[in-house]
Amino acid sequence: MSAEYNPLELMVCVGSRVLEDNSTVEVGTGVPMAATLLAQKLYAPNIIAIFEAGGVAPLMPGLPISVGDSRTSHKALLASSMNDVMETCQRGMVDYTFLGGAQIDMYGNLNSTMIGDDYQNPKVRFPGSGGANDLGSLCWKTIVITPMDKSRFVEQVDYLTTPGFLNGKGAREKAGLPLGTGPYKVITNLAILGYDEETCRMQVESLHPGVTIEQVEENCGFELLKAAKIEDTPPPRDEELRVLREEVDPTGYIIGR
């Protein structure tokens, strides 16, 4: 290991590496923001960050607290509206979206609404879709960042807030969602996961430093597929950690230091 880091830092660093340069990314609150900023500073300087409330490609003077605050449109290319941004996603102009979620299943379906089985009287109420359902429906590729354990990686989500592959291949199209869209990667504290093309089921693609496939399986509530070749995730580099800690999130708001 090149340096010490916490699980959040690990996820942000790994997440920062999956975005292509010169692509458009619709960024969710929190960890996705940090990962996108880090990517811009190290790997993808010309990534275009889009925020659902209307900010496009800002020169941010600091980490936003909200996807709708004034930093998301500071010296931006465009400061428009939620309607315009969502219409841009629906039109097919946005490559990636970067989301979190309380539960995820083997098809990448996400729950950010509630635990329980009665919508009017949930056991635990979460915020709800916000823009997640829209972004997971309308952007080309959905990346999820979330720590991995059995309470989060579940056989069936209590509430299907945001569509992954629903119940398998072809289901999105049958439901009416735009063609060719869907889950792409899941970045966790243990591994990078992707999806098997045929079955649309989640598969292990890369193990983080020191993590075994058994550990990943133990922390997952459903049967995981394995990619033909499972890679080793390179550990966070010193430079990644330095830039993350000093430039992206110096107050530790997101990475919690």
């Binding site: 609150t29 929190g30 659902e52 409330a53 209307g54 900010g55 003077p61 607290i65 909200s66 996807v67 709708g68 605050d69 004034s70 998301t72 449109s73 400061a79 428009s80 509206s81 939620m82 309607n83 969502m86 996603c89 629906q90 379906n109 609404t113 919508y119 009017q120 009287n121 949930p122 056991k123 635990v124 109420r125 979460f126 915020p127 709800g128 879709s129 916000g130 823009g131 997640a132 359902n133 829209d134 429906s137 309308l138 069936q156 509430y159 299907l160 807030t161 945001t162 569509p163 629903l166 119940n167 289901a171 999105r172 049958k174 439901a175 009416g176 969602l177 735009p178 708001y253 997101i254």
Partner: protein
């Protein structure tokens, strides 16, 4: 697994507002077109325009450019059985729900404070069935406002499909007559009262907003009655110098109130940053019912107006500090 979600054509929750465009047109027909002075007080705007049972929609982004002063007054006047468009809502929906004003809510985002975590008092309110809930996504509510602003009863969209979010919405599906493709049909949302905090307005209600608009241009057009709070009243001449910046025209507006710092504790683009100390205090007190009650006693019922509230939260010194952060002015002794 999930088969029923893939096939569904009709959401199962209640539709709180009638999307009939002819009903809405009758209302808009009777709105005044006169250029008359609409400046009033927070107290009078709320007592004149918000009735028990009204469905309200608030502008901004939940903790950014929110009409806090107006919302506190709604709570202070103990309005009851209100409906709310919980669109990107955070502090706005929280205080209305936690103080007992709401009995129904269209929800796309509530309870959460983005990276600050969740609000316990909002959770207590929204987990209870005292508030009837209908589920949506952010874009769905944005487009429902657009459809109403355009005088329609519905608009197609491609989100919600295949999910519980659709199931617990009041959306339906519609088949495109050209492509045969299935779309979500979103019902137009005509709120009874729209409440928007803006950067500048003239006495007639012509409004300009610095920064992103979220969906406020459409929310204001869609609403039967509109209350504007503004950081600053400006002359009509100033509005007319840059008419392409007018986001909400006067004919949408019923009352204008000048409330500097009126979005506190929220961020106001170009004016002031979030008051994080306040949010921590609020979220702390919200952990218990007693704490929640104490909060409303101290900061809402216990003050006579927003000026007195501002004194309580730190007055002009506090607001100057928040202004410095927003304006990226870092002082020598710390930020």
């Amino acid at each position: 697994m999930y088969e029923d979600l893939v096939e569904q054509t009709e959401g199962q929750s209640e539709l709180f507002c009638n999307p009939d465009p002819d009903l809405a047109r009758e209302n808009f027909k009777n709105k005044s077109r006169a250029l008359e002075n609409k400046v009033t007080t927070v107290e009078k705007a709320v007592s004149d325009l918000v009735e028990d049972g009204d469905y309200i929609a608030t502008g901004g982004f939940g903790h950014v450019r929110i009409p806090t002063a107006i919302l506190y007054e709604v709570i202070r006047q103990k309005k009851r059985n209100l409906g709310l468009a919980g669109h990107t809502s955070i502090y706005d929906s929280d205080i209305l729900a936690s103080s007992g004003c709401l009995n129904r809510c269209d929800i796309s985002y509530v309870v959460g404070y983005e990276i600050r975590g969740l609000s316990a008092c909002a959770r207590r309110a929204f987990q209870s069935d005292k508030i009837k809930k209908t589920d949506w996504s952010n874009s769905s509510l944005s487009w429902r406002f657009w459809a109403a602003s355009a005088g329609l009863s519905f608009v197609p969209s491609r989100s919600l499909l295949g999910t519980d979010t659709f199931k617990h919405s009041a959306a339906k599906t519609v088949t495109c007559p050209f492509t045969g493709k299935k779309f979500t049909a979103l019902p137009a949302l005509y709120p009874d009262v729209g409440i928007v905090h803006v950067s500048r307005a003239d006495i007639y209600g012509n409004c300009q907003i610095d920064g992103i608009l979220i969906s406020d241009e459409f929310l204001a057009r869609a609403s039967r009655k509109v209350i504007i709070s503004t950081e600053r009243l400006v002359s009509n001449e100033e509005i007319r110098l840059e008419p392409h910046l007018t986001v909400i025209p006067y004919w949408c507006v019923d009352a204008v109130v000048e409330v500097p710092f009126g979005s506190h504790p929220g961020n106001m683009p170009e004016e002031y940053w979030f008051d994080e100390d306040f949010f921590q205090m609020f979220l702390g007190k919200g952990k218990t019912e007693e704490g929640t009650n104490e909060f409303f006693e101290e900061y809402v019922y216990g003050v006579k107006d927003f000026d007195q509230y501002l004194e309580k939260i730190g007055g002009i010194r506090k607001m100057n500090d928040l202004r410095a952060i927003e304006k990226l002015i870092f002082k020598k002794n710390g930020s």
